[in-house]
Homo-oligomer: 141 residues x 2
């Protein structure tokens, strides 16, 4: 059970962005340098974030990205959702009438994984970008 870099980077970059957002658009180049994430990869990630209206882009010199909502309103769920970081505990199709493992019944552990998924998703939907910014408010860099 592993979180992918894409999801981690997305959150990391957005926290970075949120911390500087007050003044000017933040360029991906800066984020790349500060966070040690490949610029090309960041571009892929931000393309997704923009499509899901989590950030807005500002083109041209001195351009960059700006949050599209208040940090408080951006939950981790939204971010993960945007970059296709999914919590997948079960292979069985959730709403289908079919069971798991090709059998016509639910497997012995089906409810368990559902429960786990909810458990994790709750965590994600409670945490906002603002929370994370606050967590780091005492840092200089």
């Amino acid at each position: 059970m592993k979180l992918t870099s894409r999801g981690r980077y997305a959150v990391m970059a957005l926290v970075d962005l949120a911390r500087f957002d007050n003044i000017n658009p933040v360029s991906l180049r800066d984020i790349s340098l500060r966070q040690g994430i490949s610029l090309d990869y960041l571009e892929q990630i931000f393309s997704k974030l923009r499509k899901k209206e989590i950030v807005q882009s500002v083109r041209g010199t001195q351009g960059g990205y700006v949050l599209n909502k208040k940090a408080k309103e951006i939950k981790l769920t939204n971010i993960f959702d945007a970059v296709d970081e999914k919590v997948k505990t079960v292979q069985c199709k959730k709403d289908s009438k079919k069971g798991c493992n090709g059998k016509p019944v639910k497997c012995l552990t089906h409810n368990l994984w559902d429960e786990l998924e909810n458990h994790i998703n709750n965590f994600f939907s409670e945490k906002s970008l603002e929370d994370l910014v606050k967590d780091n408010s005492d840092r200089r860099v």
Copy 2:
């Protein structure tokens, strides 16, 4: 973020085992048939479970596997641990003095992932095999 089949199968098989354990050792062949899991794969998984003393093997005809502890005492943590299903949210080394991403400081989201890991591990360490057996006590198969 995905749970692997290995972890899922391990739990599934152990629940199956726990339900029949009362009388005789349960053969992997039976579990394979009932749960639709490849026998060869099950053998790999049970080899690990045995090494971690979660099950005991009984060789020879009419042999099979038996739980090595009470179902109540076997937590999901133990099972996942045995089959190397790890919860890995961070790449940064946990106890090292080094930070993340090759930088000398913790990344902006380090605490978050730690928190998430704990959140998930709590879930796993609370659930026991017995709980899962009870969840399925109304089933015939």
